[in-house]
């Protein structure tokens, strides 16, 4: 984070915020995953399941899938059977409108909801190792499928709020997500290439973190980078942003669990 802040201060000295504007939205044919902008070495690490450290979390998620929770409830597998079949394609269409929650819900939130309502257990906290592990195990079942954002009543409005958040300038540096990810993708911010900001690989193993993190953690990093106060984990703003990001990434292939620099 400190690194991004230093780089930004430097960048702003050279390029006044918003001076370079290339386009509005990225046309579907120009959409590119962050994977394409990584070094060959990092790509190779992601592509090899025996070298991708995220697979360590996936393995943990796989073990949890068939472990009953404390308190006598059923394991995930008790209701959902084989994840390979029941969870295929699920991560590619989340967040969705959830009737019982009465609002849009992301995949991690849905897992927590099953823990509370179906397993009568306490939910794993956001960013905890078990929740990241389960999210990456469920996510893996959609690897290779195209992102198809849900277009239901209840998510349309939330997604347009997400778009507004994406385009709103925030923080002491007064930059919007779009200033970097729509207008300046492919350019450099210090040593980092600015990606288009697609949520194609989450949760990811980020080399800078030396660990696994959610999309919300990734977006927090971008917000603190422009010196804005990030929303709390699980806040509706994150879900709205994720909904918009998924629409913006429609047609790209899900890569979970990805590696990122």
């Amino acid at each position: 984070m400190l690194r991004l802040r230093i780089i930004l201060t430097f960048l702003l000295g050279v390029v006044p915020g918003g001076a370079i504007t290339r386009a509005d939205d990225i046309a579907p044919k120009d959409r590119r995953s962050g994977f394409d902008m990584m070094s060959a070495e990092t790509q190779a690490m992601q592509k090899n399941d025996l070298a991708n450290p995220a697979m360590l979390w996936v393995r943990e998620g796989e073990a949890l899938w068939s472990t009953p929770p404390e308190g006598g409830g059923q394991a995930c597998s008790g209701c959902h059977g084989e994840a390979r079949i029941s969870m295929k394609g699920v991560a590619a269409r989340y967040p969705v409108f959830d009737a019982s929650a009465g609002t849009a819900i992301d995949l991690a939130g849905k897992i927590q909801q099953c823990q509370v309502e179906r397993q009568k257990a306490s939910p794993w906290p956001r960013e905890s190792k078990p929740l990241l592990s389960m999210s990456s195990y469920v996510g893996l079942q959609s690897r290779g499928t195209s992102i198809v954002p849900a277009h239901y009543k209840g998510t349309t409005e939330a997604a347009s709020r997400g778009k507004a958040l994406f385009n709103r300038r925030v923080g002491q540096l007064n930059l919007s997500c779009a200033n970097c990810h729509d207008d300046n993708w492919g350019q450099k911010l210090g040593s980092a290439v600015i990606p288009q900001g697609h949520p194609t690989g989450y949760p990811i193993y980020r080399l800078e973190w030396q660990g696994m993190g959610s999309l919300q953690r990734r977006m927090r990093n971008c917000m603190t980078g422009v010196r804005a106060e990030p929303y709390a984990y699980g806040a509706p703003e994150w879900i709205e942003l994720e909904l918009y990001l998924m629409q913006r990434a429609a047609g790209l292939t899900l890569e979970t669990p990805a590696v990122r620099p």
């Binding site: 025996l50 450290p53 360590l56 393995r59 943990e60 660990g211």
Partner: protein
């Protein structure tokens, strides 16, 4: 230390050089970081990794605080006979993880 991923062939020809890659989950806490309160977070790293081939040690590595979390170790050995190849990681807390894979060697 929870789990490890092993990348090595299950079969090899006698005399063949086999490549082995291991990846293990570990925080590798350096001992140089501090909490917000200023207290040093104690060092907790894997300090020794060994590989035994049919009981005989064929590779050993000592690790230090500059290693990244979830260390990947790659090396090679020569296939001589069928037998178990075992891997052991030991950390500062004295926790040991051992994994073993059987290699079948043909003439």
């Amino acid at each position: 230390m929870a789990n490890a991923l092993l990348d090595l062939p299950k079969t090899a020809r006698k005399g063949e050089v086999i490549k082995i890659t291991t990846l293990v989950s570990h925080l590798m806490e350096t001992g140089y970081r501090r909490e917000i309160s200023g207290a040093v977070i104690p060092r907790l790293i894997i300090h020794t990794f060994t590989c035994r081939y049919d009981g005989e040690e064929v590779f050993r590595a000592e690790l230090f605080p500059a290693m990244a979390a979830n260390p990947l170790i790659a090396f090679s050995t020569i296939a001589t006979k069928s037998g178990p190849i075992s891997f052991t990681w030991v950390d500062d807390a004295g926790i040991t993880l051992t994994e073993s894979v059987d290699l079948v060697v043909t003439d």
